[in-house]
Homo-oligomer: 662 residues x 2
């Protein structure tokens, strides 16, 4: 079986060259099991490329030994790495651990064969999952991949599962190398065709699962809560109805008959038009437990999304606050969910904006398994046309301590629930549209494995893997160039888009490019309330919507008043006059002007730095990103000019530095 | 042949009952020709319904005589109506005149058989044309009928001409009764499939033409200027290239071989992405004459649209003015167009807004045949969900005198060029989506016949025809009700939408519903420049874009200064502070508030009046309009609240009457 993707597809963080260190040595793999066979095949492939030798199981003379053993403290996915002089050993208690150990050796390269202290690695989070918002039948508005910016689906083509799944396998390999172990194959907005993946079309899902399984990834399905009605012909989907419960039990059994290690269901219910338990006067715990009970006999899990809010809000009504919705709906349900139900919570209270506070829901359900959902696909962060490395944002979320300084981090709170992300991958030759967006996919997996990992270190790690041949050629220039264009790119993007946590200001519908009032008079609940005097949303308990009080201390106190609220979240929590002075010392209006000029300057500088790296990488990869930088700079200027013009026209306050505003 | 549409289709202004007066009498039709046969069939149908008698040609004992004779002064489409005691006679020199005379008898009903002075009727405008923006292949964004709000196309279905063309014939009958004599069957944005109607798919057009011909309507095609390249495989579409000229001559001959009375071409060139002569450094006269020359041997005409402007404008650039574009492009070309080339000019300088000044281009080409283009389909005027009777607007345009008080009206200037409109009809059972939008279609035809016709009289005429059975039952309540909901509906719509001629403020793309800044930072050239101090576009010669100077006196002087500019166009021509006092005595900002409250009140009142008419018409017709009124009121409130909130937030000026603004 071929291990790597075809030559037409970018190798991302697994170029053959990254296998040189181990592939040029004597390597022994010891143990039984499908994933052990995957490691064997990897080793054979690497040695085939670089002249090394896969050693027979009974030969002691190996430079690298990958060994399955009883016991050990790595758990089902961990491994112990021993770097003795002349012999590096990976031991694991389970095959998955051996696979992750193998990819650790790949990451280390030559360093894997230098002596170091023995260390046991194990994932901090049990579930490291990607959600694919892929449609089987191309949606007339949303296309094949909803919020996808990387071509078509990796899984589906022409209305069904792809016949050739080699690329799915290659994708599984990349994901395993980043630490991902779970994946859902269809959009959480489950349309008519996709609903049937649960029933008469499950064989197509099974074929995909067969490929992903080779790399330790369990396959999940997004399902429609209305499936008993839509597919089963029942009169109701009431979670307490016995016929409905039977229907789901049989549906789950049917799936497991085809996919014995099926992961479970992902559900978007009572949200943005999707059906859910509210229609029957039942709670979301009732809804989640219905599916959990159906999955339990088979070891499956239901991921129940907490993204529930009123998307038919009246913009005139300032008492309703969408940010409050998930907490209001779910906090009262703590303790009511089954053990195999996971509440999947978006990292912020709104919807993947460039800057949001961490959702207070994450810390509000101590007796519930919670997963945090990130968006690797850049819906609101430049749609893979802008460089925007999100690891620093995610790292901040995972390190946040919802209950205060000495309480657990978000990373710790999600240990059993996991980290989930909407994938940015598609059938684009570079996987992610923008080649530099590969880093987001990689970093997601690595942070799910170790939420405490330093984003800068992950950037260096990714860069060395991805650019292995070039790093070898001119390490300093390439590393520093990549660092320069990526490390602060999230901050750059934030500077030229919606300021100070206020969010949105995007074009309605497709969400690309600026439209300051685009969502201001809409039913979506995402407003900035700018008038000639000031801007921002008062979410304080004292005078606003009370959202700030959903946090535990110290956050509730910190966010409650402008005086203590962090600058970057000021307009998320407060409505302030344009001349309000930030902690940084500038006024809100001048901050808007300054950051928008700076953001464009930074984007322009990044484009120049990128241009200077042309000789250090394959021309196609450089050209693709260079083309994206042109668009990023154009779009950033549009953001700058529209935002600055809008606020100059509204506030009447001139730029203190006299720059041109239209 | 069946004359009327099927029972599933609303009869519009030709219910069978409208034929009672003539259908219950002895009627003789005298003459030869296809259209005379059409009149005969009409008479036979009417008499079949109401017990009258079609008399043989040689029997003198008729109550109504429709007679083709040599000579007379009605011209090719006119007729003379003689209402003597006991005998009404229509005489016409040509069959088309007899057909129009027949429909005049229908309109008059019983009154046709009461004595009156003899009168000769003839159309003031030679061409009375509808453009259908219908796509053969459903467009992924624009759908089947671009800017159509009445279902699918009457002509095209499933990618080709409909097999059953009975409804096309019924449509032709309705149009003939309104006076229309020309029609183009496909969108002016000519996509790939539609381009081929000119060549290998012309037989489908011929089938449609066969039906329309029965009612005196000549069929036209929209063609792509790039056809010689796209369809012919030539290397160029240069209008001065001999190969290109030959290609078009042959293409025209091919069309005429299938459709001997083919009307000609409609062309949108160098506009919004459509190809045109600019690509070859040629003028639009060169482009139009190329096609005119190809059509001339066959008696065809080219309609060359003047809708040419830069749709990739930079909103930051205040020197470029889209309103200037048509004049700047076309005025210098006067005298260069062939006799069978017609310059088709939108009635206003922008794009069918609820209020625009009359385009200065119409009076700027005295040596060119000019047609004025109206939009019967309500793209910017409520999309057939809002009641908006446009006859008063059109009447104002047609009565405008571009060169001053004693110079010709627009109606007179277009005598040889004609009046053209984008149709609002589709395969909807009510033809036009909103049953009351039928009046727009009817009124267009009648105004094209007689631009001086009084819109109020046309409304009464349409109402009596359409509601004949009900008028008979309770004439006063129905007539006054219809008048109340229709006569001022344009003014109502204007009140709650974009104020004082400023235009746009619609949602981008689909153009339905409010978005004050929707086009403010776009490339489309349609801005309002509102800031905290004022609003409007300075198009004066002294300090603005100079557009006002494109008019002849007195208009150029009148529009030049706010002091003389009519209130309703103030913001089209001037940027003024919010406290600027209108001729009406209120400030601009208070006018905005007042009209927006009033507009909603008027829409609400119309909804109530309509509800009170339920017993006076077929339930389906009433219900359809009632449903539209619900949406109109909802949407009108949204317009009111968004516009008022936007300007309150921006200006800070409270409503003088203290009403609630959000």
């Amino acid at each position: 079986m071929p291990v790597a993707a075809s030559s037409e597809v970018d190798p991302a963080w697994l170029p053959d060259e990254a296998l040189r260190a181990l592939g040029s040595r004597r390597v022994r793999v010891s143990g039984e099991g499908d994933l052990v066979d995957t490691v064997r095949a990897e080793v054979a492939y690497a040695c085939g490329l670089f002249g090394g030798t896969p050693m027979p199981d009974d030969d002691g003379a190996a430079d690298l030994l990958l060994r399955l053993t009883e016991g050990g403290d790595g758990g089902p996915e961990g491994f112990t790495l021993e770097r003795a002089p002349g012999r590096t050993t990976v031991t694991a208690a389970a095959p998955a651990g051996l696979l992750y150990g193998y990819f650790e050796i790949v990451r280390l390269g030559e360093a894997a064969f230098t002596p170091a202290a023995t260390r046991t690695h194990r994932p901090a989070l049990a579930l490291r999952m990607l959600n694919h918002w892929d449609n089987v039948a191309v949606h007339p508005v949303m296309g094949q991949v909803e919020r996808g910016y990387s071509g078509g689906s990796l899984f589906w083509q022409d209305g069904r599962a792809r016949g050739d799944l080699d690329r799915v396998r290659a994708y599984g390999r990349l994901l395993a190398a980043a630490g991902v172990n779970a994946l859902s194959v269809n959009n959480v907005n489950v349309h008519e065709t996709e609903a049937r993946l649960l029933t008469d079309r499950v064989a197509e899902v099974a074929a995909i699962a067969d490929e992903l399984r080779r790399y330790g990834i369990r396959t999940h399905l997004s399902v429609s809560f209305a499936a008993p009605v839509v597919l089963g012909g029942l009169a109701t989907a009431d979670p307490l109805d016995e016929g409905v419960r039977t229907w789901w039990r049989e549906a789950a059994a049917h799936v497991y008959a085809h996919i014995p290690d099926f992961g479970g269901f992902v559900v978007k219910a009572d949200s943005e038009g999707q059906p859910g338990p509210f229609a029957y006067g039942r709670s979301h715990a009732d809804g989640a437990n219905l599916l959990a009970d159906a999955l339990a006999p088979h070891g499956g899990t239901v991921h129940w999304r907490a993204f529930v809010y009123d998307h038919r809000q009246d913009w005139r009504d300032r008492t309703t606050d969408r940010a409050r919705a998930a907490y209001d709906h779910f906090a009262p349900l703590d303790g009511q969910f089954r053990d195999n139900a996971i509440l999947q919570i978006k990292h912020g209270p709104l919807d993947f904006q460039v800057r949001e506070p961490v959702s207070p829901v994450i810390g509000a359900l101590p007796r519930t398994r919670v997963a945090v959902e990130l968006q690797v696909t850049q819906e609101y962060t430049g749609q893979q046309r802008h460089t925007c490395a999100l690891a620093p944002m995610w790292s901040g979320v995972l390190g946040f301590r919802p209950e205060g300084e000495h309480a657990p981090t978000v990373g710790e709170l999600t240990a059993s629930g996991g980290l989930v992300a909407v994938s940015n991958a598609g059938d684009d030759p570079f996987w992610t549209g923008h080649p530099l967006a590969q880093f987001n996919l990689y970093a997601f997996g690595r942070l799910a494995w170790d939420p405490a990992a330093d984003p800068d270190r992950l950037l260096a790690e990714w860069a060395e893997l991805t650019f292995t041949p070039q790093v070898t050629a001119d390490p300093y220039r390439l590393r520093s160039g990549l660092r320069a264009v990526l490390a602060d790119s999230w901050s750059t993007y934030e500077k030229y888009t919606a300021p100070l946590g206020v969010g949105f200001m995007v074009q309605p519908g497709h969400h690309y490019g600026p439209s300051v009032d685009g969502y201001e008079y809409s039913p979506w609940g995402t407003y900035h309330f700018a008038d000639r005097d000031g801007i921002g949303v008062d979410r304080s308990a004292a005078t606003g919507t009370g959202y700030a009080a959903q946090y535990a201390k110290p956050w509730s106190e910190l966010y409650e008043t402008p005086a203590t609220c962090p600058d970057e979240l000021l307009l998320f929590f407060h409505h302030v006059p344009y001349d309000y002075v930030l902690h940084s010392g500038t006024t809100v209006i001048q901050h808007i002007y300054d950051t928008h000029f700076e953001g464009v300057e930074e984007a322009e500088a990044a484009r120049e730095i990128w241009a200077g790296l042309a000789d250090l990488m394959p021309p196609a990869r450089h050209a693709r990103a260079a083309e994206r930088y042109e668009e990023q700079v154009r779009s950033a200027r549009e953001w700058r000019d529209q935002i600055n013009s809008y606020f100059l026209r509204k506030s009447g306050v001139p730029d203190a530095r006299g720059r041109r505003i239209h």
